[in-house]
């Protein structure tokens, strides 16, 4: 179980980390992607969140660089990337849980986790799309900051309501 979860996390993590490299090919982005992959692998081997955190931070920085230097504006794949990035972290959490727990894990626990992942990822995707659209719409105007904040709050509230409804 732990090996399968780790492998899934690693594969999805590679895809997420390499996305900025394809969006804006450069030596810097490639180097950063390599570092992020190494950090993620280290985190999976040692079952420590520090590795995953560093990998996520590096991937975020890499994506910001890719957005600033050369990627298409706006990036319509950003919501998918957001959901994929979140899934990598959740899979990492499950892999760590499966590896650290020496005893038996009830199937019901894993089923509940999978249900939560599927339902939340759908809502999270919608929230990310809403945030992106709101951001693009208000980007030209001076009211970007308050609009982005309102959109973020609205997205979160919608996501919470939707997911609660889906889970219960």
């Amino acid at each position: 179980m732990a090996a399968r979860l780790s492998a899934s996390c690693a594969l999805l993590g590679i895809a997420v980390v390499l996305y900025p490299v394809f969006a804006a090919p450069a030596v810097v982005t490639l180097a950063l992607a390599g570092c992020a992959m190494a950090a993620l692998a280290l985190g999976l081997i040692t079952s420590r969140w520090l590795g995953a955190g560093i990998a996520a931070g590096l991937a975020l920085f890499n994506y910001a660089l890719a957005l600033l230097f050369g990627a298409r504006q706006p990036d319509i794949y950003a919501p998918a990337l957001a959901v994929a990035g979140w899934l990598v972290l959740e899979l990492f959490d499950l892999a760590v849980m499966a590896r650290r727990q020496q005893g038996r894990i009830d199937n019901e626990v894993l089923d509940a986790q999978w249900r939560r992942l599927i339902t939340t990822s759908g809502a999270a995707g919608l929230a990310a799309v809403a945030v992106l659209l709101a951001g693009i719409f208000f980007q030209a105007s001076s009211a970007l900051l308050p609009a982005a904040a309102i959109a973020a709050a609205a997205t979160v509230v919608t996501g919470v309501v939707l997911t609660r409804w889906a889970v219960n």
């Binding site: 957005l67 950003a78 979140w86 972290l89 939340t120 999270a124 900051l145 979160v156 919470v160």
Partner: protein, 421 residues
């Protein structure tokens, strides 16, 4: 229960904060979109997290068993709120064994539901063993917050030593007045034929030996040895407990004492116990099934207690050592007080058999010269102690190699030249 933030929560907050900050300062809505799932997940998880109201109990299928027996411990968990992921781990005494995979488990409990989980345990060592406490770790929704706590719920299981069978009982020194399985040397009513003597006034006609009487033309009667019981006092030296490869010296002593006591009680002898150590305890000699249980309960509480106080057999109350009782001592012959007490018993006329529970061959000697010298001196010192015991009339046997060897040595003992009466 103590709540603590998980590393996942810290990572999510940091990454989401960085993404939001970067998105707004750089004017990139894509970065804000990247933070959206993380923020939503955080709000969703933390919004539903609260201190769990749960309880746990543990019960075992038996409250007493024998070493090597399988025990089933059932943990019952109740949760009165929304379903939570609960990780349960069981604390066990060193004398109980459970596979690591069977010792802890994770499952969902909630909505007033109840979950029962059975753990397979094995009693590996005699003594009063405890199942519990129960350690609980409850993960909040999203596993952002963890509640940890220990429920002081314990169940006691008394594990009796595995029964070691003696091939034959110990030689009796003096038989007592109660009827038992030992043939006394005295002449009285009994089954075992002893001799024939001329009829005397008061003899029963049923005891007349007609063959001898007709041959000698004078009435003769048969005499017999009566079947009597004997008194055995088990003396356990509990000043020290040395751990060896074949088991600790106290372990050997308890197993050996248990075997000797059960053998003699089965043969209608009276058995007493003395635990002579930092904490001296005793059990006056008695017989019967109830006394078997008293002895076993006594042995379960035997442990080595360190003490500087000088102790001798005057400490024991009158009646603990009945006159003519055979004293079987289990001692590693380490503590001078125990050795002196045994010598004292021998000098007072008690027949004493001492089983040396410390295997000298298992004590390794150091490499350097000083260590070798110290080892030789230690061996010599032990030889001196054995010689001193011998001079006091105490017969010492080596129990090196474990309880089996000690009991085997006891089984082949012959009665001492001192005639039993």
């Amino acid at each position: 229960m103590t709540a603590s933030a998980t590393p996942k929560l810290v990572t999510y907050i940091l990454i989401a904060g960085l993404a939001l900050l970067g998105g707004i300062t750089l004017g990139q809505p894509e970065l804000v979109a990247l933070a959206a799932p993380l923020v939503m997940s955080l709000v969703l998880g933390l919004g539903r997290t609260h201190l769990p109201a749960s309880s746990a109990t543990v019960e075992t299928d038996v409250d007493r068993c024998i070493e090597g027996d399988a025990i089933k411990a059932t943990v019952t968990l109740n949760s009165f709120e929304t379903p939570v992921e609960m990780e349960v781990a069981m604390g066990l005494s060193p004398g109980l064994f459970a596979k690591p995979t069977a010792r802890s488990f994770t499952f969902l409990v909630g909505d007033g539901g109840q979950r029962r989980q059975t753990m397979a345990l094995e009693a590996t060592r005699w003594g009063v063993q405890r199942v519990g406490p129960i350690a609980l770790r409850v993960h909040g929704p999203g596993r952002f917050v963890t509640f940890e706590g220990v429920i002081d719920e314990r169940q006691t299981v008394k594990v009796f030593p595995k029964y070691e069978r003696l091939m034959q009982g110990l030689p009796t020194a003096e038989t007592q007045m109660h009827s038992g399985d030992h043939v006394a040397r005295a002449l009285a009513d009994g089954i075992e034929f002893a001799t024939v003597r001329p009829f005397a006034y008061g003899d029963s006609v049923r005891r007349v030996n007609w063959r001898v009487s007709s041959r000698t033309q004078e009435l003769h009667v048969n005499l017999a040895h009566p079947e009597r019981n004997s008194d055995v006092v088990l003396f356990l030296d509990t000043f020290t407990d040395a751990a060896l490869e074949t088991g600790s010296t106290l372990d050997i002593a308890v197993r050996g004492a248990s075997a000797v006591a059960q053998h003699h009680l089965r043969h209608h002898d009276r058995v007493g116990l003395v635990s002579f150590g930092g904490n001296a305890r005793w059990l006056t000699a008695s017989m019967g099934r109830s006394h078997t249980y008293r002895i076993v309960e006594f042995l379960l509480d035997v442990n080595a207690t360190f003490s500087y106080a000088w102790k001798d057999i005057k400490l024991l109350p009158h009646g603990t050592l009945p006159s003519g009782a055979l004293v079987v001592a289990f001692s590693p012959l380490i503590d001078e007080r125990a050795v002196r007490a045994l010598a004292d018993l021998g000098e007072r006329g008690f027949p004493v058999i001492a089983i040396d529970t410390l295997s000298e061959v298992e004590v390794t000697c150091g490499e350097n010269r000083e260590a070798q010298l110290a080892y030789r001196m230690w061996r010599l010192q032990r030889d001196v102690r054995r010689t001193r015991l011998g001079a006091s009339g105490v017969r010492t046997y080596s129990g090196a190699g474990g309880v089996h060897v000690a009991l085997h040595a006891l089984s082949f003992l012959r009665p001492s030249p001192k005639a039993a009466r």
